[in-house]
C-alpha cells in the first residue's frame, strides 16, 4: 500500500491554475521531499490531500483511503504541520497542545511532554508571546504527539534555528525508522538531499520528476570554477556560466580530456572541479520547466 497516491489530481481556482494532472506516489515508510519554487502548487497539493480544498478533477488516496470520502479516517492517522504556524493568539501553548489531542480523542500527554522537552518549548506561555520559531515548535508537537502513520510537513524548518532543525530532523528520522512515512515540502534542497530517500519536483502546477534523491542528484555534469580568467573557455557542453571579478564558474557536461586541454592553455591561478549540488540540479529542472 502506498502512503500517498494521486491520479491525475487537478485543482483550478476559477480559471487560475493550481495543480494539473498530478500523478504522485509516495511509498509507505518513505522519507519523501516535495520541491518546487513559490507558487508551483506544493501547498495546493497538500491542501487538496488534506481536504482543505476540493479537487477539480482526478482522485487521490492516503494510506489506501479516498481523500474525499474518508477524510476523517485519514486525518486521524495523519499529522500535518502547515507552513504558517497560526494558532489562537490568546490561548496558552499547553492549552493548544491539549486541544489538538482532544480533537483526536487521544491522551498524548506523555509524548507531548517528551517533544516539548526535546524542542525546549515553554508550554506556559501564551501563543501571542511566541516567536515564529516557537510557534513552529507548537506546530511540530501538534503534528507529532499522536504518533501519526503519515507526517505531512509544509516548509517545516523555516524559522527554526539550526540546532532545533537538527533536533527536529532527528525526531523525524526516529519516527521514520519506526515506520512513519514522512512527506516534506521544502525550499531547502540541502535538507531534502540529506534526509529524503525520494523526492519530486513540481513546477507551474505540474510534476516534473519523481525519483530517488540519489538518482536526482546524479549527473555527469561537473561544476568548474576557474580563477584568473574573465570568460569561459571556448568549449561545447558548457552551461550556467557565472562570472565574478576574476573568477568564472560553469557546468560542464562534455569530454573531460577536452576540458583539461582547454584549461592547460588558460592563464588560471586556481581551479576546482566538483559535483554540482542538488540545488544546481533543481535549478536546471526549474529552468527546463520555464523553457
Amino acid at each position: 500500500m502506498d502512503a500517498i497516491k494521486t491520479i491525475a489530481l487537478t485543482k483550478y481556482y476559477g480559471r487560475s491554475r493550481g495543480i494539473i494532472d498530478m500523478n504522485l506516489t509516495v511509498a509507505d515508510g518513505d522519507f519523501f521531499g516535495f520541491i518546487g519554487p513559490n507558487g508551483a502548487g506544493k501547498s495546493t497539493t497538500i491542501r487538496t490531500l488534506l481536504g482543505l480544498i476540493a479537487p477539480s478533477e482526478g482522485s487521490a488516496q492516503i494510506l489506501g483511503m479516498d481523500i474525499v470520502r474518508e477524510k476523517e479516517a485519514i486525518l486521524s492517522r495523519v499529522g500535518y504541520m502547515p507552513s504558517e504556524a497560526s494558532f489562537y493568539r490568546n490561548a496558552r501553548v499547553s492549552d493548544m497542545i491539549r486541544f489538538s489531542a482532544s480533537l483526536r480523542h487521544r491522551d498524548c500527554r506523555a509524548e507531548a511532554e517528551v517533544l516539548c522537552e526535546r524542542l525546549e518549548l515553554d508550554t506556559s506561555k501564551k501563543i501571542r508571546e511566541l516567536s515564529l520559531g516557537n510557534r513552529k515548535k507548537v506546530s511540530i508537537i501538534c503534528a507529532l504527539q499522536h504518533m501519526p502513520d503519515l507526517c505531512i510537513l509544509d516548509e517545516p524548518t523555516s524559522g527554526l534555528d539550526p540546532l532545533m532543525q537538527r533536533e527536529f530532523y532527528a525526531i523525524l528520522e526516529e519516527r521514520n525508522k519506526n515506520g512513519t512515512t514522512v512527506f516534506i515540502s521544502s525550499h531547502v534542497l540541502s535538507e531534502v538531499q540529506r534526509y529524503c530517500r525520494h523526492a519530486a519536483v513540481i513546477r507551474a502546477g505540474r510534476l516534473l520528476i519523481s525519483d530517488s534523491t540519489e538518482h536526482l542528484g546524479h549527473t555527469d555534469a561537473r561544476r568548474v570554477r576557474i580563477r584568473g580568467i574573465t570568460s569561459p573557455p571556448a568549449l561545447p557542453d558548457i552551461r550556467d556560466v557565472q562570472t565574478d571579478a576574476d573568477t568564472v564558474s560553469f557546468l560542464y557536461g562534455g569530454n573531460p580530456r577536452k576540458l583539461l586541454q582547454a584549461l592547460s592553455a588558460l592563464p588560471l591561478t586556481d581551479v576546482s572541479i566538483t559535483e554540482p549540488d542538488l540545488d544546481e540540479i533543481f535549478m536546471h529542472f526549474y529552468a527546463e520547466g520555464e523553457n
Binding site: 481556482y13 491542501r47 488534506l50 481536504g51 482543505l52 480544498i53 476540493a54 477524510k71 476523517e72 479516517a73 485519514i74 486525518l75 486521524s76 495523519v78 500535518y80 502547515p82 504558517e84 497560526s86 494558532f87 489562537y88 493568539r89 490568546n90 490561548a91 492549552d95 486541544f99 489538538s100 482532544s102 480533537l103 483526536r104 501538534c142
Partner: protein, 261 residues
Amino acid sequence: MTIIRHELKQGRMTFLIWTCVIAFMLAVCILIYPEMGTQMEEVGSMFSEMGSFSAAFGMDRLNFGEFLGFFGVECGNVLGLGGAFFAALSGISILAKEEKDQTAEFLLTHPVSRRKIVLQKLTAMIIEILILNLFVIAVTAACVQAIGESPEVRPLFLLFLAYFILQLEIAFVCFGISAFLSHSGTGIGLGMAALLYFLNIISNLTEKAKFLKYLTPFGYTESADIIADGRLNMGYLSVGLGFMVIGAVAGCFWYCRKDIL
C-alpha cells in the same frame, strides 16, 4: 463537546463584557424607575402628543405611568439593541474568524468533520445567548424586587422570550453570512443589526411600511403589541424562524463545501 468548550473559552471575555454591560444598563433603568415614576404621567401625555415620533418607538400605545409600559420601552432599547449587536457579532465572526486568523488550517486538519465543527460552534453560540438572557432575567428580577414592584409575569416573560428569539435569529442569519466570508465581518454584522432596528422604526411610522415587520425581528419584539395582546405575533415570528433556518442551513451547506485557502 471539545469545540463547544473551546469556543466558550475563546469568546469568554467578549461575552462577559457584553453581558455585564447589558445587565448593568437594564438594572440602572429599573432602579431609576421609582424616581421617575412620579413624572411619568406627564411624560406619558407628552409622548402621546409627539405623534409619529412616539409611534416610531411604540411609545404612543404604552402607559409610562405603569412599570410594564416603562420597562417595555427601556427593555426594547437596552436588551433589544444590545442583545442584537452581541448576537450579530457572535454570528458573523464564528466561522469567518478561523480564516481571518488563519486558524482554519489547524482546526480543519483534525479528524472532525466540518459539519460537526459547524454544529458545535452553533451550539456554543446558542449557549452564550441563552446564558446572557438568563443572567439579564436574573438581574431584572432582583432589581424589580429591590424597587418593590410586582408586575405581571406573563408579558415580561413574553418580552424576554421575544428578545431571546430575536437574538437567535440575528445570530443565525449572521452565521449564514459568516460561512461566505474569509475576513472580519464585524461591520456587516453590526450594520445589519442596526438596519433591522431602524426598519422596525420605519414600519411603525406608516401603514405602507408595515410589511417591513416581516423582515425585521424587531417586528415581533414590539413591546406595545406584546403587552397589549398578551402574546407574540405568530405571523412575524414564523417568518423570523424561517430566516433562522435559512441562515443555519445555508451556512452549514456552504462551509462544508468551501475551499479553505
